[in-house]
């Protein structure tokens, strides 16, 4: 009978007992035939499935295996004899059948050529694969069935001395190491050459028969003590293994083992070459271990100091303070004894000044001061290179070593670096990249909904209005890809960089395409078909799944889950744009920016108002408000003759907004528009207007100027009591930032039934009340996507973002660490945009900078630092408010001062100007900090000390001196520091 047929029969009838005899009798040709048959019998590893419909999804659930256990075993044995390694390894489940017992049965009959490689590669399958123990493998090797690789031995022997029993008990079995001769002679040394889990000390593991949990530490100690292996070799190998590019834990374990073996001074001296060698390890634990050993022998005559200096030089720039301290200590002792090495030591030690740690710098400076040979030019030159990084204490000690030329260089270094490019005003000079023809509009429309840039929103709306007349004939169908993108976005193609506004913009575009389809039924047929296709899909989804609600909705009813007011401002503008498109009005919206990121040239605004007047197009109140909010503050070159072309009402409003008159314009002017004009003046006119209208309480709503600060309070919380099976109250504490907002009775927005009727029934009623300032409120419960909208929110009123900022503080900065990734991202995005539009803001926006300097995210802090750097150069940051905000954030230990000091250390030394401004900020901060010294105040004082320019002036400030002296009473080290300041 044909071998393949025979095999098929054995498999089908599950004749397990016959398979070994059968395959061992096959010649190569028959094995090949059986191998082919095996490939066709892989179904034995498969599972039967049943289709399950659950939660609107359907999937195939595995039920019973297609092959029996006997068939699977037959398959494995057949495969072992007849397959090559690749085919044999294909079935993962089959590997588990290849046990030691089965191998003992098969290997005396047949050893596949690939067997050694197969076994040696098991450890490459990952740490989870533990097939075959060390003893099993060694047994197979002893019998000559395979040749084990060193890596495999190291991997398996690491687990050899720990025995896990079936009753979940763990035993320490070092005696296993004595069973085979090769173990101590060869195998344990592979643990030092190949990375393994030798260091594995499970903290939850307890041996039934031994103390501790790290078996190998005890085992090596035992082997050394019992003289079963060479202790000298163990010491040497442990050192070498600590620097073999193993991971941090393994490397650290070997250095620990080294010290566990208790090396004597003679041992250390004999191994000094290896000890110096491992100083190049990337792991500080290893380096510290080596330094600890070297400290013990550095005074010995046979210690090679020259070799140590050569290697230790590279450690002086280490970020690990303890390493640098140890190296400095050893170098100091060497310098003390060896006069001829002093110059080279001092020259090397200068590198420590790259660190901004005062203590290390002081130590290095003292070493140079004490041991540098007089007039050593090499040392002096080296100090010159690092002079810019010297802190005041080190500089004072090294005064004599600072070359004369340095003082000039130093002063130069203190000059403000005006070429520092970090955003700010120049951004206003860049023209707004409006589209200039239909082709540009076409390509822009395809990318406008992906939020590549905040300006894309305005570019698309503006482009459609101005080139609507060209969207005819064959051009209409070209918008097909853009419509497809918009439709996909609306029905749920969400990705991390898009915002809720992009969904709104896409809805706007789909509605515009609907309008095209109605107006040009033939040319817009592809758009219509595409639109219907998506709408069908949307309806189908809504029918099919209960969690899905129809997503393609009209723009007029578009809303967010919490009806966040700020989104209605954008919706209103898009509704206006849609109406203009349908009316065929090509005049750009008044609020379309003329310069990036969102500024409007005042002259262009006047021109636009005049054009509206000439074309007899009514100006929308919100559009006008937004335009005023975006006008560039530089009004020096405004051509007021253009005002002659506008109506008297608009003229009086614009003259008032542009500061040409202090008279509040009369007539039937929309109140919110009047308020926007008053805010644009930025001279307190807002209060006048609100006073006249009897709405003084509302001022904070428009400017965000509310009291804020962290609070620490007790409150009654609830927790689940498992005994009582219900929630029970308990007293808890909380720290959070609170805004002292007053409840503002609204007079304009009627509530109750009347309000409901007007809002729901009267079309466009709500538009009367839109305010570009007061409506900048975040109400969304979940901020996903809102973070990507924040730049566009800020672009609404870049001159006065206070009302939005207070909302961001309330929503995202409430807790000391950000409570969600979205909160953090929102703050970062807001800071990034503020950096581009930053100007001399009032009030809360300055506080926000201080708050962000104390926030829990480093990126946010660094961007706040960038704003501060640029703001110092154009005098647009208020050091007093920022300093006070930093101190306020530290109240009740709400936010640690370290966050601020880490940032301040990197930004104060840019120039003399920044140093001066930092001093002002720190002064404001210190005066506002609590009377008991807050944690980490030392670093604040150190920074203050570094930045002081005029001590005499400071000594006259009694309140300040009193505060510092009060702190000095609390700690001796602070007292020393305070003394050095005053």
């Amino acid at each position: 009978m044909d071998a393949a047929v025979q095999f098929e029969e054995i498999l089908a009838k599950e004749k397990v007992d016959e398979i070994v005899d059968f395959v061992s009798s096959l010649d190569n040709k028959s094995k090949k035939a059986v191998g082919k048959k095996l490939n066709g019998s892989r179904f034995v590893w498969e599972y039967n499935t049943k289709k399950v419909n659950q939660g609107g999804f359907s999937y195939n659930q595995p039920t019973t295996p297609k092959g029996t256990k006997a068939q699977q075993k037959i398959f494995v044995i057949g495969s072992f004899f007849c397959h090559g390694r690749r085919d044999f390894s294909r079935e993962w489940s089959a590997q588990d059948f290849l046990t030691k017992d089965l191998l003992d049965q098969l290997l005396p009959i047949f050893i596949p050529a690939w067997f050694s490689d197969y076994i040696n590669d098991i450890n490459k399958e990952g740490w989870l694969n533990h097939r075959f123990t060390y003893l099993e493998l060694l047994d197979l090797e002893e019998k000559g069935y395979l040749e084990l690789s060193p890596a495999m031995i190291a991997h398996r022997i690491a687990w050899a001395i720990t025995e896990y029993t079936e009753d979940n008990k763990t035993y320490y079995r070092p005696e296993v190491l004595l069973r085979y001769k090769n173990t101590l002679a060869r195998d344990i040394w592979y643990l030092f050459e190949y990375e393994s889990n030798v260091h594995f000390g499970d903290p939850y593991r307890e041996f039934e028969n031994a103390e501790g949990n790290n078996a190998w530490e005890s085992a090596f100690k035992w082997l050394a003590d019992e003289n079963k292996v060479s202790r000298d070799r163990l010491l040497s190998e442990a050192l070498l293994a600590s620097n073999r590019n193993f991971n941090k834990s393994v490397s650290g374990w070997f250095i620990r083992l080294f010290f566990l073996l208790e090396p004597t001074e003679d041992d250390l001296l004999a191994l000094q070459s290896q000890l110096v060698g491992i100083l190049s390890s990337p792991h500080s634990h290893v380096v510290n271990g080596s330094l600890k050993a070297i400290k013990k022998i550095q005074s010995n005559k046979t210690f090679d100091a020259q070799q140590f200096i050569g290697s230790a030089v590279f450690l002086l720039t280490s970020e690990v303070k303890s390493v640098v301290k140890s190296v400095l200590m050893i170098l100091e002792k060497i310098a003390k004894r060896n006069e001829n090495l002093r110059e080279s030591i001092c020259q090397s030690v200068v590198q420590v000044f790259a660190s901004q740690d005062g203590e290390l710098q002081l130590r290095a400076a003292k070493l140079i001061m004490n041991y540098a040979p007089e007039g050593a030019t090499a040392v002096q030159e080296e100090i010159g290179v690092y002079a810019g990084a010297l802190l005041s204490d080190a500089k004072a000690i090294l005064d004599g070593w600072l070359p004369e030329v340095l003082s000039t260089a130093h002063d130069k270094n203190l000059e403000p670096e005006l070429d520092v490019a970090s955003g700010g005003e120049p951004a206003t000079l860049e023209k707004f990249p409006a589209v200039s023809n239909f082709e540009e509009l076409l390509f822009h429309a395809s990318q406008a909904f992906d939020n590549h840039d905040p300006s894309h929103f305005d570019i698309l709306v503006d482009g459609l209005i101005r080139f609507n007349h060209e969207v005819t004939g064959s051009n209409i169908a070209k918008l097909e890809p853009a419509l497809q993108r918009a439709m996909k976005l609306v029905i749920g193609d969400f990705h991390a960089t898009i915002g809720i506004l992009d969904n709104m913009l896409a809805t706007f575009f789909t509605e515009y395409c609907d309008y095209l389809a109605k107006t040009y039924p033939t040319d817009a047929l592809p758009l219509k078909e595409l639109s219907e296709d998506f709408r069908r899909k949307d309806r189908h989804q809504a029918r099919e799944f209960s969690w899905y609600h129809q997503r393609i909705t009209p723009l007029s009813t578009w809303h967010t889950s919490q009806n966040t007011p700020i989104y209605y401002l954008f919706r209103k503008m898009l509704m206006l744009a849609l109406a203009r498109l349908k009316q065929g009005i090509q005049l750009p919206l008044l609020s379309t920016p003329t310069h990036l990121p969102c500024w409007i040239d005042p002259n262009v605004l006047l021109e636009r108002v005049a054009e509206y007047q000439q074309a007899n197009v009514e100006i929308d109140a919100l559009d006008f408000q937004m335009a005023l909010a975006r006008v560039d503050n530089d009004l020096s070159e405004v051509d007021y003759t253009k005002l002659e072309q506008v109506s008297a009402e608009q003229k009086s409003l614009l003259e008032y907004a542009f500061g040409r008159t202090a008279e509040i314009p009369e007539g039937n002017i929309n109140l919110q528009l009047l308020i926007a004009a008053a805010i644009m003046r930025n001279d307190g006119a807002l209060r006048e207007v609100l006073a006249e209208k009897g709405r003084m309480l509302d001022a904070g709503k428009y400017t965000g100027d509310f009291e804020w600060g962290p609070i620490h309070e007790k409150f009654t919380d609830k927790r689940y009591d498992y005994q009582k099976n219900r929630y029970v109250p308990f007293e808890n504490e909380r720290k959070e930032v609170r805004i002292a907002k007053r409840a503002i009775p609204t007079t304009e927005k009627p509530g109750g039934l009347l309000g409901l009727f007007r809002r729901k029934v009267l079309p466009g009623y709500k538009s009367v009340y839109y305010s570009v300032y007061a409506d900048q409120v975040l109400k969304e419960q979940w901020l996903q996507g809102v973070d990507n909208d924040v730049p566009r929110f800020l672009s609404l009123a870049p001159n006065n973002p206070g009302s939005l900022i207070i909302s961001i503080i309330e929503r995202c900065c409430k807790y000391s660490p950000f409570i969600s990734e979205n909160d953090k991202r929102l703050v970062i995005k807001s800071l990034e945009y503020l950096l581009n539009i930053w100007k001399k803001y009032d009030g809360i926006t300055q506080d926000y900078l201080g708050i962000c300097m104390m926030c829990s995210d480093k990126t946010a802090r660094t961007i706040a630092g960038e704003i501060w750097i640029a703001g110092c150069e154009n005098d647009s940051v208020d050091q007093i408010r920022i300093g006070a905000a930093v101190a306020k954030m530290n109240a009740f230990d709400f936010s640690p001062l370290k966050r601020f000091t880490d940032l301040a250390t990197t930004i104060y030394s840019i120039s003399a100007l920044h140093k001066k401004r930092m001093n002002e900020l720190l002064y404001a901060c210190i005066t506002n900090l609590s009377d008991t010294p807050p944690r980490n105040v030392r670093k604040v004082l150190e920074l203050f000390k570094e930045t002081i320019a005029n001590r005499e002036e400071l000594r006259k400030d009694q309140a300040f001196i009193q505060k510092l002296n009060g702190w000095a009473l609390e700690s001796q080290s602070l007292a020393k520091l305070v003394n050095s300041i005053l």
């Binding site: 073999r244 590019n245 076409l442 890809p481 993108r485 480093k858």
Partner: protein
């Protein structure tokens, strides 16, 4: 997907210390994909700065083992760096698993004292014994480096050739294509001394960095800032630079190069006799392998004889400057750029920024394989084969085409040098990551017309 190539190793790479002369020999196994039977030794000689070379090689090995966007499970396979000996230099190069980092160690002519018997490329097996030997390397040691099998006597057990299948991932082949093109469009932006470099590396944020960082200079200080500004170098995934940290205390100088569109940055560390370069892709999740920098060159029709000619020229000279070569041979720089791109795409050329010239690498990839690896090229071919490209308008400078996409028709406009498409790929990347398949198909169709 992994391309399995069979290499014939004469021996596993080892570093040996001969007892008598206290000499260490770095012995690199040789492979030859086409198995030409070329068993010549490429290089044999002493290393003049073995300690630095060893530390650089360990960093290279760490780079090759690192991954910035793959799970540890995907990282299971270790890849072996490529070694090229020729033109008085020995170069070791490789990619991280995710192909977002390309690293190269150049042992310069002063860095060795030996003999180049034949220019060639091999594959060094960075196994644990090799790392152990490198880690134990000390400063004043006499170390001999051998690239390629040197002599039969090394093998005490007889002439045993180890057949190994080294998985050379598709990512590497594609990455080699792109990285050389980026490097050739790279300019030096900054030069930092040791102190500045150390202070700069201290400003690298901790942990995995998701946002872009920008290398800026303020006064004499360099730092990383999350804010973009004028003259700053944009670095995505700045944490990848931490691979260089162990080398920083040893450097003489650090030079930073950036691609003109900031698609890659190159960080070159100078140690006198040895140089270490690390190129980072624009983002850690965008390996060099996925970029389409070479696409434009690959669709151009270049005569085979040209490719052969430049291939021979490169092999004979080992390095060349493409502009100079174009001038010397009175041919257009553009055409030569296409030829060099093809040779680079075949893995034959690497680029040395310092010398501003290509160097020859003897890796016998086949051009057809490169073409087959590129999904956008394949997509373009498919569009043409299915007749989905229609030229709507064509004059001397402007072409407009309609290309059928998934459910919609895209508009492609090629206006002089600039090409635009309405598809999502173009909309998202604006051509920064190479052309989309619609533009490629249109260009290809124009060539055939």
């Amino acid at each position: 997907m992994t391309e399995a190539m069979t290499y014939a190793y004469a021996d596993a790479s080892t570093l040996r210390k001969t007892a008598s002369a206290n000499e260490e020999e770095l012995f690199l196994a040789q492979y030859n994909e086409l198995n030409r039977g070329n068993n010549q030794c490429f290089f044999w000689g002493r290393l003049n700065d073995p300690f630095t070379t060893a530390r650089c090689l360990i960093t290279l090995s760490n780079t090759v083992q690192s991954s910035f966007n793959l799970s540890p499970f995907q990282m299971a396979m270790l890849k072996d760096p490529i070694v090229t000996a020729g033109n008085e230099k020995i170069r070791f190069e490789g990619f991280s698993h995710c192909a977002s980092v390309y690293a190269r160690v150049d042992v310069l002519p002063e860095g060795h004292d030996g003999e180049f018997l034949e220019a060639g490329t091999t594959n060094v097996d960075f196994n644990q014994p090799m790392i152990n030997a490198l880690s134990a390397m000390k400063r004043q040691e006499d170390v001999v480096l051998s690239v390629g099998p040197k002599e039969v006597g090394i093998h005490k057990e007889g002439k045993k050739t180890i057949e190994r299948k080294v998985p050379l991932p598709t990512k590497w082949i594609k990455g080699l294509t792109t990285v050389q093109i980026y490097l050739s469009d790279t300019n030096q932006h900054m030069s930092l001394n040791k102190m500045q470099a150390i202070q700069l590396f201290r400003s690298i944020p901790k942990g995995k960095v998701k946002t872009d960082y920008h290398l800026i200079k303020r006064g004499t200080l360099y730092s990383f800032s999350p804010v973009a500004s004028r003259d700053a170098i944009c670095v995505g995934g700045v944490h990848r630079l931490r691979l260089l940290e162990p080398l920083m205390p040893m450097i003489d100088e650090l030079k930073v190069f950036a691609h003109e569109d900031m698609q890659s940055t190159t960080w070159q560390l100078y140690f006198g006799k040895v140089r270490f370069s690390m190129s980072l892709s624009r983002d850690p999740w965008r390996g060099f392998s996925g970029e389409g920098a070479a696409l434009e060159a690959l669709i151009e029709d270049v005569p085979d004889q040209w490719i052969k000619k430049v291939d021979n020229y490169s092999y004979a000279n080992q390095s060349f400057n493409p502009t100079m070569l174009a001038i010397e041979n009175a041919t257009s720089v553009e055409q030569l750029k296409n030829v060099t791109s093809r040779l680079a795409a075949m893995g034959l050329l690497g680029f040395d920024i310092d010398d501003n010239e290509y160097f020859y690498r003897r890796l016998p990839f086949k051009f057809e394989r490169i073409m087959g690896l590129n999904p956008r090229l394949k997509g373009a071919e498919k569009l043409l084969a299915e007749g989905k490209v229609t030229i709507v308008q064509k004059d001397d400078f402007r072409v407009e085409a309609r290309v059928e996409g998934s459910g919609v028709h895209h508009t492609v406009i090629i206006d002089n040098e600039e090409a635009k498409c309405t598809c999502t790929w173009y909309a998202r990347h604006q051509g920064e990551r190479g052309m989309c398949k619609h533009i490629l198909a249109t260009k290809k169709m124009l060539q055939s017309v």
